[in-house]
């Protein structure tokens, strides 16, 4: 059985964001081109209407958040090797279908779950992803929805009283 590292679970969204910010400040240069993380996130969260640059940003933030784990470099190297193994060659160059199958095959690994848990929070908290799914986020600055559509539903069948 794989042990879940409690840091994976306890890494709250807020903590991860804070760490990402700190890590982001001291970071020089950007990720190398062949980094597998962003393409991996595209397989995990293939949200229609989300620009590739968002995946790059989320990958960067995920990387930064996970740097805090002493074993992240190893875990990541192992994860990429596992993906390559599952794809029977360079995962990055495999077809999309093969990349999905390979990801499915490694879904039980610590690498997969660690990335999934951290990146899920980063990805679905990103306002650009919210825009793609139609969620506007904060509403207080516009006065809420009391006079702006909170009860504007118009397709419900007339309810019998």
């Amino acid at each position: 059985m794989l042990l879940v590292d409690r840091r994976e679970v306890l890494m709250t969204a807020a903590a991860a964001a804070a760490i990402a910010t700190i890590a982001g400040c001291s970071r020089s240069g950007s990720r190398t081109r062949d980094d597998a993380l962003a393409p991996f996130l595209m397989i995990l969260f293939p949200q229609p209407g989300v620009d590739p640059s968002v995946y790059n940003d989320v990958a960067r933030r995920t990387n930064a958040a996970l740097q805090r784990r002493g074993d992240w470099a190893t875990l990541k190297a192992e994860g990429v090797a596992a993906l390559d193994g599952a794809a029977g060659g360079k995962w990055l160059r495999a077809s999309r279908q093969l990349r999905i199958s390979a990801a499915t095959m490694i879904a039980d690994t610590s690498f997969f779950r660690t990335v999934y848990q951290t990146a899920l929070v980063e990805f679905y908290s990103d306002p650009r992803v919210w825009a793609a799914v139609g969620y506007p986020g904060a509403s207080a600055q516009n006065g809420g929805y009391l006079h702006n559509g909170f009860d504007d539903i118009d397709w419900l069948p007339e309810a019998a009283p």
Binding site: Y124, W130, V133, D151, W155
Partner: protein, 516 residues
């Protein structure tokens, strides 16, 4: 602002400023009693409350280390707040009275393998205090307040429920202002209730009970003050509370009485951490009941993918409920009932809670239809079991060197048939108004923490009497959800508040009689 000396033993020390502690402290101060309230969390202002789940999670949520066992999340078993106002900052405002039969589960439910007891008080005993609680909190549909206007999400639930023939569909019973009330504004349907209400339309002790208590000049709030241990003197009186301030400095506040309202995980933890020569197994734990009988409600959620837009993020996150299934009717194959509420989730919450573990096209397709989602959250009666509870970790310690809690919860055999029934009904509700797909889901972290220092008529069955007074220590009180003898099917906070008001009146009486 009033301050009390640490050696002043005229004060009642209240631990926690949430639903139970905040109300009790204010009621006591209003009645002329000196109160010091120790609250582990910081005190926020309205400027600190923003429409941002990530930021508010950091500002509000209790993230101290805990472990979960059984069906609970192993690292985050229960959800509560660590801030002035306690979990009334996170709560979504549903405020409904328990039903008469829910005060007597042992009498009414033919269930094996439970440690159920009847409450040592009845619904009729509590009704006058429910009245006071509803007035205090501004519950919709009471005290001249209209029902909360139904938002789209609640309208979908209501229409589906009525199509099934449900009659008790309502947006009364919400402690969110449906009109200006008690100096707080009408709900502007902003959403983000769980992140703290940015305008204070939702009742929370941070901006009601606490400032009102301060106006009496008989109340001192000490935020960032973590109670570590309750001391008992030779005469078996709770005589002082040892606590740590924000800098970790240790203090000791003398007390005339001690009232514990740390939420049903921390309250038994404090008592268990307060073992002494007189109470070797933990304070007030001679009967071995401290930390047992943990209740959290049987819970399911369901998302309906509707034929048109719902925009369920708009407005009150929990803007009404359906009471028809709350009856006790064993013909359904289980004891007790369940309550069906509307519920709303951010995209992250949909992904993380409703679709826990999902990825790839499945998850993306669900989120693509985010605006067509309507959602419900269902809470049902949870039979007491002795093995469900809170105990101290044998070696893991917190920053103060105190053992961290382990929370254990396993389902009772009554849970599965109830959940299956609730899932069928949730599906039928959404399908009745055209849902293309309904996705039921389970939740492994508790939001209603109850029962771990319960009231009992017989001191062998519980920790305190019907007023929350500990059976074994005359000036020690349980003042939060820990005191529940059973869970009922409704959300607990209105009952916690009613019990706190009743307890405050009782403490006044005991003092007047010279009994405290």
């Amino acid at each position: 602002m009033k301050t009390f000396d640490q050696t002043d033993d005229s004060v009642v020390v209240v631990i926690g400023s949430g639903a139970g502690g905040g109300v009790l402290a204010n009621e006591l101060a209003q009645a002329g009693v000196n109160v010091v309230c120790l609250e582990a969390g910081r005190r926020l202002t309205f400027g600190d409350i923003v429409n941002d789940e990530k930021i508010m999670d950091e500002r509000l949520t209790w993230h101290d280390r805990r472990f979960g066992e059984g069906i609970l999340n192993p690292y985050f078993p229960a959800w509560m707040c660590k801030t002035v106002g306690g979990t009334t900052m996170h709560w979504t405002g549903t405020a409904v009275r328990l039903q008469a039969h829910e005060f007597a589960p042992k009498t009414h439910y033919a269930l094996a393998d439970t440690n159920a007891i009847d409450w040592p008080l009845t619904r009729a005993d509590l009704d006058p205090y429910y009245d006071l609680a509803e007035r205090k909190m501004g519950v919709s549909g009471t005290n001249g307040l209209p029902p909360l206007p139904m938002n789209n999400n609640m309208k979908v639930l209501a229409a589906g429920a009525r199509a099934l023939g449900y009659k008790r569909v309502t947006s009364t019973g919400v402690a969110i202002n449906s009109a200006t009330y008690d100096g707080r504004p009408q709900c502007q349907q902003i959403g983000f209730c769980k992140s703290g209400c940015v305008i204070g339309a939702k009742w929370s002790t941070l901006y009601t009970e606490v400032p009102k208590a301060e106006e009496t000049s008989r109340f001192e709030l000490r935020p960032s003050s973590m109670a570590l241990k309750i001391e008992v003197d030779k005469a078996n009186n709770a005589s002082a509370v040892v606590y740590a301030d924000a800098e970790g400095r240790i203090h000791r506040q003398r007390a005339r009485a001690v009232c514990v309202a740390g939420n049903a995980i921390e309250t038994p933890r404090i008592l268990l951490n307060s073992a002494s020569a007189l109470h070797p197994d933990g304070l007030a734990n001679g009967a071995g009941q401290v930390g047992r009988n943990y209740l959290k409600h049987v819970v399911i959620g369901a998302l309906g993918f509707m034929p048109g837009d719902v925009h369920f993020y708009r407005g009150a996150q929990q803007g009404g409920h359906i009471a028809d299934e709350q009856r006790h009717d064993e013909a359904r194959g289980f004891a007790g009932g369940y309550q069906i509420e509307s519920a709303a989730f951010s995209p992250l919450a949909v992904a993380r809670i409703a679709f826990a573990g999902a990825w790839g096209e499945d998850l993306a397709a669900a989120l693509k239809d985010y605006n067509r989602i309507a959602a419900t959250f269902i809470t049902g009666e949870d039979p007491a079991q002795s093995g469900n509870g809170v105990r101290l970790h044998p070696d893991e310690k917190d920053e103060y060197g105190l053992p961290v809690p382990i929370v254990r919860y396993e389902d009772h055999a009554n849970a599965e048939p109830m959940r299956a029934h609730a899932e069928r009904q949730a599906r039928a509700i959404f399908e009745a108004v055209g849902a293309a797909r309904v996705v039921p889901f389970r939740v492994n972290m508790a939001t209603h923490n109850l029962g771990t220092c319960r009231m009992s008529a017989d001191p062998r069955d519980g920790v305190c009497d019907s007023f929350g007074r500990a059976h074994e220590v005359g000036n020690l009180f349980i003042s939060d959800g820990s005191a529940f003898s059973s869970s009922g099917s409704s959300n607990p906070t209105l009952t916690i508040v009613a019990l706190a008001i009743r307890q405050a009146a009782h403490i006044r009486e005991l003092m007047a009689k010279g009994d405290l």
